[in-house]
């Protein structure tokens, strides 16, 4: 899937070399053109698995990119009231779970309830994985397997998909996967996914 999008982007880039104005957007990376600008504000960020990487995505989205998303690492269904885009930051952290006073099973139930609320209200879902190999393992894989199939797009920072786990899941579920080299590149993808205000 990744390869396909890269191919499409490359073909489009070449086709647009002639000087059509949207070259910048397409050349930016591997975001499928059909998804660009398709996610609506307001957005809301929470974790799936209590990874502190959610805090990085929050400052990336809000401090750096000024997207003004809502944020609660342990959001509940009512937290996302009014939101039109839900960003799930994937990764299980024992320390994070402990800090929130949640077991992995309890957090999975929480995430399921937030996803259900999103689906009920037509909120589209962006899943992001920024923690690399440190946020891969049995517990992290459980939340990844829960979230990827219900996502509209998945963004993974290099390293997190070394074993092709995301590629396989996304292919099976027919969900576009965008792989990027860095967290700040993931921010650029997030920005290009969001509709301009």
């Amino acid at each position: 899937m990744v390869r396909k999008h890269r191919f499409v982007a490359r073909v489009l880039s070449v086709a647009l070399m002639a000087g059509i104005g949207v070259l910048q957007v397409c050349a930016q990376g591997t975001v499928p053109p059909s998804l660009q600008g398709s996610f609506l504000q307001p957005g809301y960020i929470t974790s799936a698995g209590q990874t502190s990487d959610a805090a990085i995505v929050k400052v990336l989205a809000n401090t750096r990119l000024k997207l003004g998303f809502g944020y609660d690492i342990a959001a509940k269904p009512q937290s996302i009231a009014g939101a039109k885009t839900l960003v799930l930051v994937l990764g299980a952290s024992n320390k994070g779970l402990g800090a929130a006073g949640l077991s992995l099973e309890q957090d999975i139930e929480r995430v399921k309830s937030v996803i259900a609320e999103a689906q009920k209200n037509g909120v589209r879902i962006i899943s992001m994985h920024t923690g690399g190999t440190a946020r891969r393992g049995e517990a992290s894989n459980q939340v990844i397997e829960l979230c990827v199939p219900v996502s509209d797009v998945v963004v993974v920072v290099e390293g997190g998909n070394n074993d092709g786990f995301f590629t396989d899941l996304c292919e099976k579920a027919g969900v576009p996967l965008v792989e990027v080299a860095s967290i700040s590149a993931a921010g650029n993808v997030l920005k290009s996914l969001m509709a301009q205000q």
Binding site: V59, A134, S182
Partner: protein, 353 residues
Amino acid sequence: MKRLLAAWCFLVVFSSVQVHAQTGLELVCSEVVAGEGVTAVRPLSDFFPGLRGTPFDTPVFVMGDGARGTEGAEAPPCAAIVAGTHANEIAGVLASYWIIERCRVPEGRLVVVPRVNASGATWSLQDASGPRFLELGSRTIRYGTRLSNPAQERLADPGSFVPPQASGNFPALAGQEARNLNRQYPGRQDGNRTAQTAYALTLMLQAEEVRIALDLHEASMTSSLVWSMITRPEHLDAAALAALDIEDETGVSFHLEDSRDEFAGYSHWEWGKLGISAFLVETPNPAQPTDDPTIEQLHNAAAPLAKRVYVHLCAAKALIANAADLLQDAGALRIEGFPSSVEEVGRWLEGTL
């Protein structure tokens, strides 16, 4: 100024040497020479005299003579950089040596403790009677171990160990962890030397009115702690912003962990209780956990020393800048002289800069 400092360092060392064969002051001064940014060198025993003359006494390098935090609403804060908590985690020690030798602090104050557990640098896992030495260009540094030297302790290890302010249900650790400085904060006046060192450092942080403090570490290549920063939940934003800055500068993507009460005795958790924005930074060390002496450090293909030192320095710069930015009542702390590339650090390590 440089000569004055050298003389001062010598006097501090000499007065201690008279009491004991070798203190940490002598050890550190044999590895690093204070640059022009250093305004004073104080033994840690100034803050707790119980350490005086022991191998645990260690120098505190004060940089900048900026106003203390209480002198004005916008006064720049004081930050602390602590390294050598675990004496085998050498990249943090060398990063602090770079700062001592090459940085200046035109606004605010910085205190640097490059080998906070100097005793850990006096022995090695391979040879309990002495440290391993690592040749780096014109510099030789000690490659020590994770724990204090048992021969230098004033108390035998307990059967099991619980950090000083751990909660009631805290699971007891192995007795030797009493010599792990990063389980002993905020320290104990009447504890073993390791606990007294933690106590002295806590008193120093308070006396110097430190608002931001970093503890530089390394972890084995396969540890999930590699390229991570750990801090209390209230300081995660500063760490997250720093992670983005570090990635921009070095290409390394850090992940974050938040500290909680299971981290009783750890620097970031206990210093945080003092109101300090405290962060622990981890880079990978290919010789850990066995301190394998056959592992090449300087030109290691997987984790070259220059890259680890460079990332520590970029992390220090980014964490201090972002944490200071988030302090509501303080001005900017300005530190100059950080390296601009990993190659620059490589040349410094090889003695060709």
